[in-house]
Symmetry: C2
Subunit: 282 residues, 2 copies
């Protein structure tokens, strides 16, 4: 088995697949807040990915008010100058939860990449905060970020465009809205190109909580699909031209749901104790 | 390895993923015609799956005229009485190629299932003709036919509805428009419920030619995805309620493109000689 991630942080990374429930039972977001481990938590919402940051900010202010946050800061960052603003960056220093909204991941890296805000987020991850991102806000987590690629073309060479993300973890590729948008081809193509990468396709209203020890736990109402290329025996991908269809043999796929865990170091799925055969009667 | 299919026929089954090119280069349909192995071939087009059978019939009459058919019969069957008509059924007796158009697979089985037309198709498959079907026309090939199921819900228990198909092959589940509609969840669910089944997800403008010896070859411009449950180690599917998300460990997935073959008996992918490592220089 090949080690994929090199986590070293004390905090938690929570990648959410987008479209999480914000008005009904809030199952997923309640669970995200729970990870903070305290009731008087401070949340900072970064809306830089969104083209309508004011509205997004208002939406999440309402959600986190319902979820009992003691302090809520909305960082409505629209340009790099703001992302380098010392006063804004300082607001993150005592955040228990930093939440990156959806929108366009390329917008997020272009505006925030390498700035003081970026450094502050990374610092909080290392020192113990929860960094949660949904949709575009989760796509940026890895060193390799998918920013473009039609689902239906996912298995044609060159159809999936990637660029450097925030690099909070290495060699794990996060994709979101995964089943809803039928995106598995995108992850299979990337994993085929370099099987050291593990693809993590997060479903809507679903999340994956990644800890610094390399273990992840699935939360929420849908599935997280793991695409593991360890067993790939053959592929045509280095021999074909751009736009041609990709052949690949032996991609290993798992579907994980709430409570299931995954060991990224050993590439192994961990079944919740309640679901293990020895605990079933029939 | 578990044997999946029990083919016994002298003919060929060609499952096409829908949306095959009918006006440009006709790459896929030319290849289908090639399988007939002669230039003066007779084709019968069965439009029973379609709600607009006249238009479909005209379209394929034009296509097969371009493709040099010596005789073209359009069987525009709209009800079971027609499907039981001896004169219509007789037209199939000397067909070299029987082509089932797209539409609704449930319409096709409901109208044609168990009729003289059905028997005539099966008889021609056994005795040496090509039976090709596209989209709905391919979905009916197996003993288990998917007839309903939103792609995005494919990994929620009970979301994929199946019913008996024509049963030309056993324990192979054909799905179509596969990458275009992101349907892998549907096949994963069925294969998880009974890993003896092999899922075959055929892409648009792509086909799989299945021979009586249990070997299949991929043709066309896209991919055929094989979903093999032989290695499944764990699933929650027998313990969860309808509508709950499906967990499953170790689903083996292959993507095959033009020229690749698959041995359904041994569940093994076969790489075309040109693509084998020993034939590459660099």
């Amino acid at each position: 088995m090949i080690m994929a991630s090199k986590p070293f942080f004390k905090g938690r990374l929570i990648a959410i697949g987008g479209n999480e429930d914000k008005s009904d039972e809030l199952v997923l977001l309640k669970r995200v807040v729970q990870e903070a481990g305290k009731t008087d938590y401070k949340v900072c919402v970064i809306t830089a990915a969104s083209e309508d940051p004011e509205q997004r900010g208002q939406d999440y202010r309402q959600v986190f008010t319902v979820l009992g946050a003691s302090r809520i800061e909305i960082l409505s960052i629209k340009e790099r100058a703001q992302a380098n603003d010392i006063t804004l960056a300082k607001k993150l220093e005592d955040a228990d939860l930093i939440f990156l909204t959806g929108g366009d991941q390329l917008r997020l890296t272009t505006i925030v990449g390498g700035t003081r805000i970026f450094e502050a987020i990374q610092n909080r991850l290392e020192t113990g905060a929860i960094i949660a991102g949904t949709s575009a806000g989760a796509a940026v987590f890895s060193d390799t970020m998918i920013y473009e690629g039609q689902s239906e073309d996912g298995l044609f060479k060159g159809s999936v465009l990637t660029t450097p993300g925030f690099g909070f973890v290495e060699k794990i590729i996060f994709d979101t809205h995964f089943m809803a948008r039928g995106r598995i081809g995108r992850l299979v193509q990337i994993v085929t190109m370099n099987p050291i990468c593990i693809g993590v396709g997060v479903g809507e209203d679903t999340g994956v909580v990644l800890k610094g020890d390399g273990y992840a736990e699935v939360i929420g109402t849908g599935q997280v699909i793991i695409v593991d290329g360890s067993d790939i025996a053959h592929s045509n991908i280095m021999d074909i031209k751009q736009g041609e269809p990709v052949a690949v043999e032996n991609v290993r796929v798992h579907s994980l749901v709430n409570g299931y865990r995954y060991n990224f170091q050993k590439r192994r799925l961990l079944i919740p104790p309640d679901n293990k055969p020895e605990n079933t009667d029939d």
